[in-house]
């Protein structure tokens, strides 16, 4: 292996001075490679081609203007090398000018050997430190770049796994649905006495089975919905709907359940009809999920559904006085499978898909959804839907909702 010795270039036209300098440089603590040239022009050429760790330049050469040489070598490729000026410095301003032109240090002639040695040694040390720092920073940067690349690769892999998982879930859900429907139908027929008389006790057990099949079906439906949404395979069948009437209907469906939990379910709606352009089934799903959650996570108080009209959209709110959501969970709330609170009734575990589905449906309508919540105080989900207006309808007819 080549041990990297520092390389020094001496530009000096006086042979005596050159020999003395060479002698000093050869007796340095650090072993160096020294090259001597006797003209500024050759020196500059050397520097353009090779790199040196130190240049020692005689400022007062016979045929060359030392300052011009100094300027020229500062244009060299690697400008980081130090330049030591040597001269008798009879004119004191020369030192200042030299330093201003980029020289690193000056040494007076006639030479004091110890001084030359010390000053050169210092410059070589500094140069080495600079090189080491550069080396370390280059290696560090290269390493960080590598890690980024690796991270990126891992990320892509994860995304692929995620996609496979979703595809798998979608397929499995689909396959589960058909047999489940058949099981449900059969049991339902038995319970309804269509197959023959069923003792009360058996009916009771079968009804329980039916209720759980419905839960299972609900979960599978959610999984299928998510899978469709993610594949961009959701079509909206938009129609003109009076949202005031729709909300009243939806609330009516939940009244029994709310009453059973001793919760008040109420609405604050405009007097007149409010027409929106929505996919009714999917919008019902949004309300159902949000009201369902509100009932699930509220022990006492009330649930309020309200509706406000803006110029071309409406804003719906589902507010509860329940347990609320911790601030740290809010950013992930709409993510798939995220569940943060334990419900009071074990039968309502859910899947953590309700909010994801609700968000997707709202966004497919061109609206947005967000949440405001304080732990222990309650939660409000706020979302927007497009209003129905003649202009929009004409415009939207040309749009393919399948994305």
């Amino acid at each position: 292996m080549k041990i990297k010795q520092p390389r020094i270039l001496v530009i000096e036209d006086n042979k005596c001075d050159r020999d003395l300098l060479l002698h000093i440089l050869n007796s340095l603590e650090t072993e160096c490679v020294v090259e001597c040239v006797n003209s500024g022009r050759i020196g500059v050429e050397h520097l353009r081609k090779e790199s040196f760790d130190l240049v020692i330049l005689d400022l007062s050469m016979q045929k060359f203007d030392g300052f011009q040489v100094l300027k020229d070598i500062r244009d060299a490729k690697d400008k980081a090398f130090p330049v030591l000026l040597v001269s008798s410095f009879t004119n004191k301003e020369d030192k200042v000018q030299g330093l201003e032109l980029g020289a690193t240090d000056c040494i007076n002639k006639p030479y004091i050997i110890e001084e030359v040695r010390a000053r050169v040694q210092i410059q070589l040390k500094l140069r080495q430190i600079l090189k080491d720092v550069q080396w370390a920073s280059e290696k560090t940067n290269a390493g960080i770049k590598m890690l980024y690349k690796e991270l990126d690769k891992k990320n892509k892999q994860l995304q692929e796994f995620d996609r496979l998982k979703d595809e798998f879930l979608g397929n499995v859900s689909h396959e589960l649905r058909t047999p489940l429907t058949i099981i449900r139908e059969s049991i339902s027929q038995i319970v309804d006495g269509l197959i023959g008389d069923v003792p009360e006790k058996q009916k009771q057990y079968l009804s329980r089975a039916l209720a759980n099949i419905d839960r299972l079906k609900n979960i599978i439906d959610n999984l299928l919905d998510i899978s469709k949404i993610e594949k961009g395979r959701v079509e909206l069948y938009k129609e003109k709907v009076d949202l005031v009437a729709l909300i009243k209907d939806i609330c009516a469906d939940f009244q029994t359940k709310a009453a059973a939990q001793n919760l008040e379910l109420r609405y604050e709606l405009p007097e007149d009809e409010v027409y929106v352009l929505i996919d009714m089934e999917k919008t019902i799903q949004v309300f159902t999920n949000l009201i369902g959650n509100a009932l699930k996570f509220t022990k006492k108080g009330n649930i309020t559904i309200s509706l406000k009209e803006w110029e071309d959209f409406v804003q719906c709110e589902v507010a509860d006085t329940g347990m609320g959501i911790a601030a740290e969970h809010l950013p992930q709330l709409f993510n798939k499978f995220k569940q943060f609170s334990r419900t009071h009734s074990p039968g309502e575990k859910g899947t953590g898909l309700g909010l994801t589905i609700a968000k997707s449906i709202v966004e497919l309508h061109g609206g947005n959804i967000h949440v405001e919540s304080r732990e222990g105080k309650g939660t409000t989900f706020i979302f927007t839907l497009p209003k129905y207006c003649q202009r929009r309808l004409v415009h939207e007819e040309n749009i393919d909702y399948r994305r």
């Binding site: 720092v133 370390a136 560090t140 390493g143 590598m146």
Partner: protein, 123 residues
């Protein structure tokens, strides 16, 4: 008979040792790869093996990678290149690597691409 060049890998982690060895062998270097499980053993093996390139992990029980590197460098003044290969990149560690006389410093990634690049840049 032409002598194959010799690589020595010093790492306390068996998994890393195997993976690095595989990476070097599949990268097509015409070399025999030897391994040591700690710094002390590595330093001894340098004396016997006279390897061309030594790859040293940073964190090992006993003497660490930097100490291992400077010991190797002080023992064997002729023909040895040391690359410090680490799981965490850090400018301070890179500086320590340099100070201990290392010729290379690189990060361990799953396919050891950085290490292979570093070795290639040395020949």
């Amino acid at each position: 008979m032409k002598n194959k060049s010799r690589f020595l890998i010093v790492d306390d982690d068996d998994g890393d040792l195997t993976l690095m060895r595989n990476a070097i062998e599949t990268a097509g270097f015409d070399a025999d790869v030897y391994v040591a499980k700690n710094g002390e053993q590595g330093v001894e093996m340098v004396d016997d093996l006279k390897p061309v390139t030594v790859i040293v992990d940073t964190n090992m029980p006993g003497i660490n990678g930097f100490e291992t590197c400077s010991l190797m460098k002080s023992r064997d003044k002729v023909n040895i290149q040391v690359i410090i290969c680490t799981g965490v990149v850090d400018a301070v560690d890179a500086g320590k690597a340099r100070a201990s006389g290392a010729d290379g410093y690189c990060v361990k990634t799953s396919n050891y691409e950085a290490l292979i690049n570093e070795i290639k840049s040395m020949f």
